[in-house]
């Protein structure tokens, strides 16, 4: 049969289009698009959730409850036996908290003989008052016998209660702030004696087991030391290595080996660098544990690949015509690179370095292994002294059980994120403004 014969029946009309499932396909197209939007929404939602969680928990950390007191530096309490001229320890070990408690009890009209009430009054004041008043007296012993107006820190429990972080509905025996203390807080707040003031201690103090006196000053100094070491070591070494690989390296096995190594080091887990630091710098070279020098060295090794990769990209972006022109005018290769290529690549190198530094600033794991999880209350004066770093301080506070530490931790995270934001924004501005497009 060669002729196809139309046997009748319903003839397909030209005006009706053959169904090729176009509707279904368009629906599928819409769905697919939707998935993409949902995926992006999920990503942004979690970013928002993370930032919201940190900020809502942490913004209160920048204010700390303080109490205004007229403290009488009574001689019979500080130096009852009048020995301070002969025994220098008298002023160091005097019962300073009692001064503050007495002052507050007088202000609240509490009978100084009622021991139970006086103890509750004392509970309102942070133990940090001891060092605060002691430092005042040691700085100026002539204030003994006078009355001074000072702001002292309230205890961490009072601070949490005032910020509404403690559930006050629960039974009195099951919370740390008693009804009597709450009553006093209300009275003092109405009188303007109790007040939330900007928390400078958060930025200046060192480690402490009490939330109200814990600060990240030591950690910030430690982090700054480490950033300085990373900058001083990683930038020159990274730039030198990149120049060699981009401008001088012959195509040989050694060059290949170096390239493979750099690419792999960029992907090695950071904790492995911590093990390296522990084994080489501390165990083999006997550098001190917990020192910012060791931390800086470890972070340098970790940051080098990032800086090298960014620098190489910046060098590659300088057009070959610049090199040809310099070489054509009789410059040597070294002169070409150092007088012409490097200055033109400098903004790109700087951008990469800032990003590498930001990465190093947020790194925690390797620092834990070289012993930077230490309780350091004093400022390090040299990079060889024990110190902590900002992210490590966050880790240590995150492990504390008290509610007030959650607030501190989030506050520290806000500070860390601000540092990182400033660095990254600087890098972006540099890239937009200074970097030349060829």
């Amino acid at each position: 049969m060669t002729d196809a014969v139309y046997k009748g029946g319903d003839a397909p009309r030209a005006s009706v289009r053959r169904d090729i499932g176009i509707k279904k396909r368009y629906a599928a197209e819409q769905r697919f698009r939707m998935y993409g939007i949902i995926a992006i929404a999920i990503g942004i939602f979690f970013l928002a959730a993370l930032l919201w969680s940190v900020i809502s928990n942490g913004y209160t950390a920048f204010w700390q409850t303080s109490i205004n007191l007229d403290v009488t530096f009574a001689e019979n309490i500080i130096d009852p036996d009048n020995e301070r001229a002969s025994d220098p320890n008298t002023l160091l070990t005097a019962n300073y908290p009692k001064l503050a408690t007495d002052a507050l009890a007088a202000k609240l009209g509490v009978d100084p003989e009622n021991r139970r009430l006086v103890r509750e009054v004392g509970g309102l004041i942070s133990n940090g008052v001891r060092t605060q008043l002691r430092d005042m007296v040691i700085a100026d012993p002539s204030i003994i016998g006078t009355t001074q107006n000072v702001w002292v820190l309230a205890s961490g429990d009072v601070d949490s209660a005032l910020k509404g972080q403690v559930n006050l509905e629960v039974e009195e025996s099951r919370r740390k702030v008693s009804d009597q203390q709450l009553e006093w807080m209300r009275v003092m707040e109405a009188d303007g004696v109790l007040e939330q003031r900007f928390n400078t201690g958060l930025f200046t103090r060192g480690a402490s087991s009490r939330p109200e006196t814990a600060g990240m000053g030591v950690a910030i100094v430690g982090s700054l030391y480490m950033m300085l070491i990373v900058l001083l070591l990683a930038l020159p070494i990274g730039v030198a290595a990149s120049i060699y690989l981009e401008e001088f390296a012959p195509q040989n096995k050694l060059t290949d080996l170096i390239e493979v190594n750099i690419n792999n080091l960029a992907a090695v887990p950071s904790i492995v660098f911590g093990l390296l630091g522990l084994a080489v710098f501390i165990n083999f070279m006997h550098l001190p544990r917990s020192a910012s020098l060791v931390g800086g060295l470890v972070l340098t090794l970790m940051t080098l690949p990032t800086i090298i990769i960014a620098t190489r990209a910046a060098l590659r972006a300088v057009p070959p015509s610049i090199r040809s022109a310099a070489l054509g005018l009789g410059a040597s290769r070294t002169q070409t690179v150092f007088h012409h290529v490097l200055p033109l690549a400098a903004p790109g190198i700087l951008t990469g370095t800032i990003i590498g530094l930001a990465q190093a600033l947020g790194e925690t794991a390797p620092l834990l292994l070289i012993g930077m999880v230490a309780f350091v209350a004093d400022y390090p004066t040299t990079p060889l002294d024990p110190a902590t770093a900002l992210p490590v301080q966050i880790y240590m506070w995150a492990n504390e059980a008290e509610r007030a530490f959650v607030e501190r931790t989030s506050g520290a995270i806000i500070v860390l994120l601000l540092f990182l934001a400033v660095m990254n924004i600087t890098a972006i501005i540099l890239r937009r403004r200074v970097e030349r497009r060829w």
Binding site: A28, E29, F32, R33, G36, I38, A39, I40, I42, G43, I44, F46, L47, A49, L50, S53, V54, I237, G238, A240, A241, Y244, A249, I258, N261, N263, N264, L265, A267, V268, P269, S270, I271, V272, F273, L275, L276, L278, A279, V280, N283, L301, L304, P305, S332, T334, L361, G362, E363, T364, A365, L369, V373, Y395, A398, T409, I413, L417, L420, N424
Partner: protein, 490 residues
Amino acid sequence: MAWGLLLTIIVFIGVVGYVLGSARAKKQIASSAEKPHSRAHYHGWWVFLLAVLPAVFFMAAWSAGSYAYVDRAISERMPEQTADSAIASRSLALGMVRNLAAGMRRLETDPAIAEVPESFEELRPVLAERGVALASDTQDYMIPIAAELNAMQDNAAWIGTVIAILLSLGGAVLGLRSVRPRGRARNNVERIITLGLLAASTIAILTTVGIVFSMLFETIHFFRSVSLSNFFFGTVWDPRFAAAGAEAQEGQFGLIPLLAGTIYIAFVAMLFAVPVGLMAAIYMAEYASKRVRSVVKPLLEVLAGIPTIVYGFFALVTVGPFLRDMSAAIAGGPGFIQAQSVLTAGLVMGIMLIPFVSSLSDDIITAVPRAMRDGSLGLGATRSETIKRVILPAALPGIVGALLLTASRAIGETMIVVLAAGVAANLTLNPFEAMTTITVKIVNQLTGDLEFTSPQTLVAFALGMTLFVLTLGMNVFALYIVRKYREQYE
């Protein structure tokens, strides 16, 4: 003499050499009819390098060598270690001597001390007054040895200093004498610079070698006291920080529960991050307008810039409690999800990985040639069909490479799991329970007081080695795939 001062002197000699050298070259160039080869300051630099480099290298070698020499000499003077020695081990005793020597050094410059006391009883309070703490079981016989140690070190330092300065002066003189107009000073200087650049780039190799050797060394140490099968095939992790004297208790160092936890958590993280990241990348590469892209891409990249400790804290105080409370609300009783669980850690790690997946895949999808897209669209395929049938298959090897890189990051991630996964080494399939990972255990074993001889500490290096080999294998494989794929379109 302190090394810092010596270095300053050497650099000073170098600077003087630079000034004299360039002045001499300038004079010669001005007076001679010959065409000079190098400009005057290159001659100066060459003198500087000759004066500084050999001396500095000598200094480094001398200080390392003399340290080793003095160490050995002192070690020979120590009494033989016997069973009833007061100090448990020889290295401990050596450490005490070193500590003592460092303390006695402070007394040398002290005008108040005419003679160093000979017994430890007398010496201790004197040193304590100057802020030097000594081990309480330091022995009397150590004091003369410590004094001798100091004397030997002084001698070595003194000889080294003289030789270094002579070397530096000699180099400067040699350099100055070699200045002549046709001298190839620039080539010499540039050769040194190139060598310096090469040295800088070999640091990458040195780091890798350092990682491998340091871990290999300690790992071998570890396997001297724990059998291979205990580590690789053991299913129980119980290292037992044994108290002194309780040697009968040997810990269990089973890798399997840790490895299982690591892989499980990484798997959950990838399960979350891959669809989200990949779809986000596809949308941004193929659908999003330039304006949307310029807003969304940086926003997602912010996720990559947030330190992992912040994610860990987020998991600890927000995600974990939220999941626990939610499961409690569903179950109507105690929740079936623990606050620290595989799910919590995996979910939060997944959030962290989204930007890695999306930006790596974005690059790969954009690298697929325009012609393939246009061909498919021209044949009447919709955009999603083009993506599914043409672009993704073309980009697949690259995407697989990207996912491998992401997975290796998930395996090596530490801070999130330290805070969110728990420390109990369970072997379970229930994602709602806590498991632990290799990285958590490395941190656990190495924080706090530690001695470098116990298997409890050394196991961290064996774990680190495992982690390193694991991630290295994945990275090498991933880079291989990515590189092979790139060659197709170039």
